[in-house]
Assembly symmetry: C2
């Protein structure tokens, strides 16, 4: 079982806070973690943030909060040799999990990455569809093939968009309860807090609605309350 | 016209040296650039290298070789907001160009990235197919849609795999001479030096065959000679 699931069984909310924008200083990032780590399941750190500050600086923060859960949202999409090098760097940086794109395919791609992740005890999340409208143009046309690949590889979980709850429902129905579904797209990107959970996701990824807030604790509590209200007031997948 | 094309008109080879593996120290990276910059068109720096050393250190090297050409091979594949943040970081790091995946689609994806690249005077290369066998499983099934997107967006160029020269031929035929084609997959990945050029690519991306060599100057000259021999001895696209 992923350490991520353990985090919610300890009473934390089904939220992963996304940190992408380098205008959040390292000091503010650490303050965010310090103030919200008992409220949320973990943190997802994106490429612009990782590139801007470098893994050395971020590792120093992660090491001080080892009981927390950090995903490197690298959206890996390369040949296996290169992705494997990257994931080793991310693991050395203290990350517990990594996100890769399903569309790169198995042979010479995700298969090798998955093996390295298992060797490193690193959780792997495979993207199967994205939250922006452009995902409908190309990605979603091959989603069934990506899901078939997920069923063969058996990674820790998948990433599916909150902005299209029918996609999450479909993914949950197809994969069953064997995979964690994490979902971006709630909040500033447009989907209601709780809507992805209701459709079958396990965690919602929330970025700017928390990180751009004046009071991150209040914003986080607001999001968790909104999720609970949404799920309680509707008939949800799994009810 | 991209500065990259200018580099070959000044007599350099049609080679971009790929630097991915962080086992190449920064000192050796700088030595590689210093010793080969008059031989090759430029350098392509990959995610594991960028993450491991951080952009600050790499920017210091790039700044010392401003007449050279550096592509950040980030294989961007995210929503427009996040890709735009990343490309700003890469531009601040001194890079001349960036690579993004075509499959993310236009709306809320590549369209926004392309606009930011134009604002920043940053070359954009769009991946249309990859060099590993897994690319056939999913990516190549939607390549026509990716190429249609390229025709709408008009980026600087595209990335197509040397390991399947029929793909390069197809891309060149479809896009005409309006786009630079850069091609990974020659050397250690299996395709012969010069084979992608012969199929219609403008530049071949060469990594380990040069970077893992004892003598990088000799290895680079060997690759360029092999390219020229291949192209001269065969009937090539554009002859």
């Amino acid at each position: 079982m992923s350490k991520l699931v353990g985090r919610i069984s300890e009473g934390r909310g089904r939220v992963l806070i996304a940190v992408d924008d380098p205008s959040l200083s390292l000091k503010d990032f650490e303050s965010l973690v310090l103030r919200t780590k008992e409220l949320v399941a973990g943190y997802k750190v994106g490429v612009p943030y990782l590139l801007s500050f470098g893994l050395d600086s971020i590792r120093d923060i992660i090491r001080r909060y080892e009981d927390t859960y950090f995903i490197a949202d690298l959206k890996l999409a390369d040949v296996d040799v290169v992705m494997s090098l990257t994931v080793r760097v991310a693991r050395a940086g203290g990350f517990d999990g990594v996100i890769a794109h399903g569309f790169v395919g198995r042979e010479g791609g995700l298969e090798g990455l998955h093996k390295v992740c298992m060797d490193l005890n690193m959780d792997l999340y495979v993207l199967v569809s994205m939250s922006h409208p452009g995902s409908l143009e190309i990605y979603d046309l091959v989603m069934d093939k990506v899901l078939a690949l997920v069923e063969v590889l058996k990674p820790t979980g998948v990433v599916a968009p909150a902005t299209r709850s029918n996609v999450i429902k479909y993914v949950r129905q197809r994969l069953g309860r064997h995979y964690i579904i994490i979902s971006p797209g709630v909040g500033v990107q447009g989907a209601e807090f709780g809507s992805a959970l209701c459709a079958g996701a396990d965690f919602e990824i929330v970025g700017r609605a928390i990180t751009k807030s004046e009071d991150v604790v209040r914003a986080t509590k607001y999001v968790i309350k909104a999720q609970e209200d949404y799920v309680r007031s509707r008939k949800c997948v799994g009810d």
